[in-house]
């Protein structure tokens, strides 16, 4: 066989991998972005402004910032005013705008008059007094804006961080569909990464994503040069994105030991715990409660079911050695400025005091530490589940299939 033939056959073998890759990360087409922006203005903005008792939201934007996704990427002073009715007036002073999305374009010099004409009672501005990613206005712009508003209106200014966090957390249907597609994409990527693993050869650092293994004492190897060994329970988390809309998803694999043909009993048992606790979470989360209120409910339900809740992702040696321990960090996904500053069912983060909105896109991220007394005192197995979920009027739904089991790596 000559070189040409060899090359052609080689290419034929390679092709399926290249062309059969089913999912591609979606591009943010202008039409999709316009739809998301418009729908968020229509259905999310009025409710979050009213919930936060804000009747004017001023967002001063001089360069691209995190709100490009929601507002567009042009600089300007973005002003949203609640003038009653079922919509919020949308204006940009001193910028360029999409005429279909905004009602008013005016020079920035009209800011003072614009505000006084509308006489808002509570004005949210993109600053915060605490250290926060929501502080996107410069000090100079902050001072200048207050000066322009004058004494009367500057006294009415409050930080916009809560409003902004609620606005980011609100989801329209096009975003829900996007979230589901991204979950399917990351699931496929995780599958691909698991397929790369050759026990005894592959290092965690050879695998894309957040890759981790814990031993029976809870010591973790995370994206290190640790070589995957038989008996390891490996977790892989991987993301998928469209512009600044992102999620990440998880998978778990077990490396068979010599002579094993299936998952050993203790690994099957920890998976059973993953399913039992998933059901507990699914049945007990509703829109409207704060993250911290919701956490209390889940802790009670876990304890009723015989589990020990742990507020850190570390095995608690002082807890009942018969009981499986569970840690929870149900953080937001999709449009978040950070996991800390978004609604969060977790013991940590500013966002734990925010309300869980309807159609909240978040993760069932929970860690199970299951004692295995037959391995010795304090020895335990560890897995981390990370599935994308949405809370609807019916409870928690999975927009795409959650993890189906612990995959076997031979």
């Amino acid at each position: 066989m000559n070189k040409v033939q060899i090359l052609l056959i080689f290419l034929s073998i390679l092709l399926p991998k290249n062309l059969h890759g089913q999912f591609e990360e979606p591009k943010a087409s202008p039409e999709l972005m316009k739809l998301i922006r418009e729908q968020k203005f229509d259905v999310i903005l009025p409710s979050v402004m009213r919930d936060n008792e804000i009747d004017m939201w001023i967002h001063v934007k001089r360069k691209p910032d995190f709100f490009d996704f929601e507002f567009g990427d042009k600089p300007g002073v973005y002003i949203f005013t609640d003038r009653g009715g079922n919509r919020i007036e949308r204006a940009v002073l001193g910028g360029q705008i999409d005429r279909d999305l905004y009602d008013i374009l005016a020079p920035e010099s009209s800011l003072g008059k614009f505000v006084s004409e509308r006489n808002p009672k509570h004005i949210a501005l993109n600053y915060t007094e605490r250290s926060s990613s929501f502080k996107t206005i410069s000090l100079n712009d902050y001072k200048k804006t207050l000066k322009t508003l004058g004494k009367k209106y500057s006294k009415r200014v409050v930080p916009s961080d809560r409003l902004a966090a609620d606005y980011l957390a609100g989801r329209v249907i096009a975003e829900i569909a996007l979230f589901g597609r991204l979950l399917m994409i990351s699931t496929e990527i995780i599958e691909r990464e698991f397929n790369k693993i050759i026990p005894g050869k592959t290092r965690l650092s050879d695998i894309s994503g957040n890759v981790f293994v814990r031993d029976y004492n809870g010591n973790e190897e995370n994206n290190t040069d640790y070589i995957v060994q038989p008996g390891d329970l490996i977790g892989i988390l991987h993301d998928a994105n469209m512009m600044d809309f992102s999620e990440h998803n998880g998978g778990i694999g077990y490396v068979l030991r010599k002579g094993e043909t299936n998952l050993p009993p203790e690994v099957k048992r920890i998976w059973e715990h993953a399913l039992i606790t998933r059901n507990i979470f699914r049945k007990n989360i509703t829109a409207g409660a704060t993250g911290v209120e919701q956490l209390e409910i889940l802790i009670d339900k876990l304890e009723e079911a015989g589990y020990v809740y742990i507020d850190k992702d570390q095995y608690d040696k002082t807890a009942d050695p018969e009981k499986t321990q569970v840690h929870i960090d149900f953080h937001a996904m999709g449009r978040i400025i950070s996991q800390e500053e978004a609604p969060r069912i977790s013991p940590t983060g500013w966002g734990k005091d925010l309300k869980i909105p309807l159609y909240h896109t978040f993760t069932f991220e929970y860690m199970i530490h299951m004692p295995v007394p037959e391995f010795g005192k304090g020895k335990h197995l560890y897995i981390c589940i990370h599935d994308g979920v949405i809370v609807t009027e019916r409870g928690v739904e999975f927009p795409a299939a959650p993890i189906q089991g612990i995959r076997i790596i031979r």
Binding site: S12, L15, Q39, I176, A177
Partner: protein, 485 residues
Amino acid sequence: MKKVTIFPTIAFISFLFWELDAQTDYPEAMVGISHAYYTSFDSDNPFATKEMLDHIRREKFDLVLPRVMREHQIDMWIHVIRPWTWSGNEFRRLEHMNLNYKSIDSSDPLRYEFGSNAAVLVFTDLGGDRIERVVFEGEVEDPSAFDIIRGQSTFINQENYEIMDYVKENPDLVPGSEMGYRFMGLGEFVAKRDPKRIGVNYAETLSLAEGSETYTLALTDGISFADHLHLSKTLGNEYARRMVSAEHLILDYLTRSVLGEIVLFGGSGQGSEEGRIQQYNPIVPGVTTLMDVDGGWYCTREWDHDEEAFTSVPLQRGDMFQSGQIPYYILKKGEEKPPQDVLRFWDEVVKVRKIISRNVRVGETGRKALQRIIDKLEEAGMAYIDRDRFDVTLDPEKTQVHLDLHQVGKGVLAPRISPMGPRWHSDKKIPLLLTLGVEYMVHMPVPDWGKGKHLYYCSLHERGVVTERGVEFALPPVSGIESIR
């Protein structure tokens, strides 16, 4: 080139073309689903996979099934799908296509929901937050979605030795007729669960067969008379009396979406108009016809416009036509954009879309939603027309709007916000997350062009989803009129 070199070259090139083609056409999750469940399981949607179909099935079992059974006060649902709904002819047509037995198409409207083309399925409300799911007899695509799978009946084919063995071993239990094997054991199964109301898939008051989308997924009358007769016998008097039609339950089960279905309804992901816009060869005014450009219809119309007659009429500058969902305007010489009247027309289209999106409510009937939208259109200075024809007798200043919004992709067409269809279409209440084909037709008179002359646009199933907030869109609707130079 030597033959040995030519062969791999041809093989490679063929393979390349096959592969490139495969990028836009994906294997169906179940045979026929892309046609029946259009807008969600489309063959060009890479996310419409078997795994997604399995996932949706389980989510519906978890989230929708308990609700609809309790709403209809049905504590047992028996759904019978017989293998002859797809017939031997269908089998022969498909047998060389490398498909397995289970995947062969069926005409049962719940074949994809349950993943079967031949089964007796029993769903029982035993209390708690879930419904027991049993494949009493038959095969399913996704066994792990069910609690009990009893397997295919030994007697589904009575041409084998098993029936002879059975008769020999159980002389006292042989049914009077071989039809008695059909539901063998079901009586005991039902009695053990002691249901108060048993829903069975037969139509009683709804014209499901002729009232559904017959060219994609016709709903059927349900079980045969023979099955009804023998099911009644098997259940015995006490339980047979408790049988009721599951027609409303079936409709509700089909039309209530879980989020997985909404994900698919959002399409392949890009939401880009780029992919939907036709790239035309130069249109030669006075020569190129609507048929040549694969156009749907003329949008620039006389009062008595006849669509058929216009397919072969050459397009002229200043004409507007529609292909798929996209409207096109052929610019006149010197024009940089469509004229004011055409742009005003698009504003009217957007206005109608907004009125619709704000006036559909979860829990209301289609009929009530229709009336509210009509009221709002009239408040906005438009005229409602109950047929998709320009009404020359109406105020020539007013834009006329026809409405036909309906459920899409399950063959049901209900709930429907429309003057069309059987009464049950618009009697049906709008459920949460209804996948709604937002279909409206706008006829805007342009008096300056002459009496009765008007512009026309039909939105053709914009992908709406009904939430507590109104109609939201899973995929961007058309954003404007495309200009052709």
